[in-house]
Amino acid sequence: MLPADISTADELIELLAFEAASEAFFLPVGQVKEIRSWSEPTPLPLAEPAMKGVINLRGTVLPLVDLATALQLPAAGRAPSKVIVVLEDRGRITGLIVTRVIDIISVPASSLEPPPQISAHAPGPGIAAIAIHDGKLIRVLCPKQLFPAAREDAA
């Protein structure tokens, strides 16, 4: 399912590009609240592996989800993820732990299409849309599928 604001044809949409486990992922800039440097989280008890804990974001308790772990990307040769992309999804805010932020790119909204249902390789769950831009694969994340708290709501 495509977010409503990127489904209109021929409009350019801006995507924030960042890296996790040496791979590039994208999110519409409209969903990103801010980018933060690292602070050590307080771990949550009996949490899923991707849930790294909570930090204080100016008085709000912000959960941190490690993107590479959430997408079950191979751990080998990973650079330590130390940048937090804070995003807002239906009133909830979550911090996504990534290796680094790369760039902001603009792609025509019409070039985005739903990910193929069956694929030997990623994209798997957590990907909202894919596109080919400048010969490269653009994978736009789906926050709803990534975060444990949001998933509980859906259930």
């Binding site: 307080t42 008890p45 308790v61 444990p148 708290a149």
Partner: protein, 636 residues
């Protein structure tokens, strides 16, 4: 946030907020002592209904506007003095106000209520019953002077006055003027006279009947008084159009934001204290930061005071719920409210409405007997519910008691056995039986009733109260009624707590749940033979659980450290082993669930002086976790 709100919607929202205030002053006015006498209260009521009508018609809420218009007409008749209110009419008036409140709620949600003119028709009938004031609407003025023969014939004026009091709320005054000085006083003679003012609706014949046997041995005059019943001093002492304290309406979100900013300030201030060099305790910087600390605390209290408000509107709403339930179930009842001025955090008030509604319905449905049974037990047919609020040792106590039949413990016991909640051969104490009512799904109603038998039991009430950081308990005396006591924190924003260390992390334990702390030494520990450890504290053996291990932060077999005995509202206990107790302090409570979902054993979070998040434990859940079989994690 992404779409700008429709300005008309904002005005509409403002109108509904205003309606709540207007309903409050309307209910107050009708209950005021000078309402029946046609005093200022009638004007207040009239103006409130008039404003509701005005707003409703400008938003084209026809049903609401029409009803308000009808009600306004009735109040106008009272206001102009064309009619006067009788006590019986006040009940009908209240019901009309209840209906008005319902229409407002319906208009707010956009629902359409069936056109119900019942309440107005009733009110109309009541108005017509009350006769015009210039003639028989006036109260009775009775002057009664017994002669000496009355006393000699064995009559007693007190009995006569009591009989008059039974006819209605009368004002009795004694006239001593005839008593001579003591030298001339003939103790065998009668010197006293009484002046009685009786409400208008009693017939003259009824009054005459009281004096049937003494009419020829006293001076008696019974006339319609042409001066109205004097209104109590309270009402006239208050300037009706005096200056009111200026107020303004602020969105709750803004106050919450302010509160959270002040919380930040408290944290930043304590961070400053930690950073400052300890070596120079009297340096200007340290003194300035201390002054800042004082100001911050004052600011915090001031903001907290803004967040609190009297519990009265909630109690008034409960009055409406009670009347509705009483009518539906055919059990006449009245609600007596006490301590309505008690101030409670606005957020608590909001979340208290639902459990309290359920408790009121429950009290009428299950607490009160039907009128026949009550009459047979020598009680008035109309039941009495008492709802009171008070402040006690830093908490808000809300009590709801009924004068019904009390808990039928035999029945509760039987049902509990039948449902397998307790073993058949156990003999639980009265308190244990009463506590069974809070068991999930428990209901003593033989048939599912319309009011409270909706599959939600008192366990839902208890969950709602516990979520607010409160506790609920029950006391019952067979034949005399049942009373529920709810104890709540003053605010949801700040909590007294103990900071402990376990598994390398700092955790916060609410002080309200802590019974005792003790050093963990082998002398006090007993092995239960199944690999679990027990500790004897407060006269009982409680299981010892390692906090860090429970939460998945460490191994179980730790020795030493501190054990903290916690309990829940049913006095289930568990002892938590922690590495260290750090300090006892107030913490600012931060919501965790909205961003993180449910976290095992954790209720909420706070931010400590170093700016890091610390988790606030949920004692009830920890006790459940400790008493449950070993966590699945270890098995898998």
């Amino acid at each position: 946030m992404n779409n700008t709100p429709d300005p008309l919607d904002q005005i509409r929202a403002g109108f509904f907020v205003e309606c709540e205030d207007l309903l409050e002053s309307l209910t107050d006015a009708i209950a005021a002592p000078d309402f029946s006498g046609g005093g200022e209260a009638v004007n207040i009521a009239f103006r409130a209904v008039h404003s509701i009508k005005g707003g409703a018609s400008s938003f084209a809420m026809t049903a609401l506007a029409d009803f308000a218009h009808g009600l306004e007409n009735h109040l106008e008749e009272l206001r102009s003095g064309a009619r006067s209110a009788t006590p019986a009419m006040l009940g009908d008036l209240m019901r009309a106000v209840d209906h008005l409140a319902k229409l407002i709620t319906a208009a707010k949600s956009g629902a359409v209520l069936p056109n119900d003119t019942g309440p107005l028709a009733q009110l109309n009938a009541a108005l017509n019953r009350a006769a015009a004031p210039d003639q028989d609407g006036a109260p009775w003025d009775i002057r009664f002077r017994p002669s000496v023969e009355l006393y000699q014939s064995g009559n007693e004026p007190l009995h006569l006055l009591n009989a008059l009091s039974d006819l209605g709320a009368c004002q009795i005054s004694c006239d001593f003027s005839a008593i001579p000085c003591i030298a001339e006083l003939d103790a065998e003679s009668g010197w006293l006279a009484w002046h009685v003012i009786l409400p208008s609706q009693t017939s003259e014949t009824t009054i005459r009947e009281v004096f049937d046997f003494v009419e020829d041995v006293c001076d008696l005059s019974i006339i319609r008084s042409h001066t109205p019943v004097p209104t109590p001093e309270v009402a006239s002492g208050r300037p009706s159009a005096g200056p009111e304290a200026a107020t303004m309406r602020v969105a709750l979100e803004r106050i919450d934001e302010l509160m959270s900013l002040v919380g930040e300030l408290v944290i930043s201030q304590s961070m400053l204290v930690q950073i400052l060099p300890k070596a120079a305790p009297h340096s200007p910087a340290v003194m300035a930061v201390e002054a800042l600390g004082g100001l911050t605390r004052d600011l915090q209290e001031a903001v907290m005071a803004i967040r609190t408000q009297p519990i009265k509107p909630l109690f008034q709403r409960m009055g409406r719920i009670m009347r509705e339930a009483a009518t539906t179930l055919g059990k006449p009842a009245e609600l007596i409210c006490r301590g309505e001025a008690t101030e409670v955090d606005r957020r608590i008030i909001e979340r208290l409405a639902e459990p309290l509604t359920h408790m009121i319905r429950n009290a009428i449905d299950h607490g009160l007997e039907d009128p026949k049974t009550r009459a047979a037990a020598g009680k008035p047919e109309s039941g009495a519910l008492t709802l009171s609020a008070s402040n006690r040792s830093g908490r808000v106590i809300i009590e709801l008691s009924d004068d019904g039949g009390g808990i039928d413990r035999d029945k509760v016991h039987k049902i509990a056995v039948k449902r397998g909640l307790i073993a058949p051969d156990t003999t639980p104490t009265d308190a244990e039986v009463d506590a069974l009512l809070f068991h999930p799904g428990f209901s003593t109603a033989d048939a599912v009733s319309l009011m409270s038998g909706r599959g939600v039991g008192l366990d839902v009430v208890r969950t709602a109260i516990t979520d607010l950081g409160g506790r609920i308990s029950i006391q019952s005396t067979p034949g005399h009624g049942t009373s529920f006591t709810v104890s709540l924190p003053l605010t949801l924003a700040v909590m007294d707590a103990m900071v402990v260390r376990a598994g390398g992390q700092k955790f916060i334990i609410p002080l309200a749940a802590i019974l005792e702390t003790a050093a963990m030494n082998s002398a006090s520990i007993v092995d239960d033979g199944f690999g679990s450890r027990l500790i004897r504290l407060r006269g009982r053996l409680s299981p010892v659980s390692d906090l860090a291990a429970m939460l998945g932060f460490g191994d179980d077999a730790q020795d030493g450290g501190i054990v903290i005995l916690i309990n829940d509202e049913d006095d289930n206990r568990t002892a938590l082993r922690v590495d260290d107790v750090i300090e006892q302090r107030q913490v600012v409570v931060k919501a965790l669930r909205e961003n993180c979902g449910d976290v095992a054993g954790i209720a909420s979070a706070t931010i400590l002086g170093d700016g890091r998040v610390a988790l606030i434990l949920d004692p009830g859940e920890l006790i459940t976790m400790a008493n449950a079989p070993r966590p699945l994690r270890e098995a898998s």
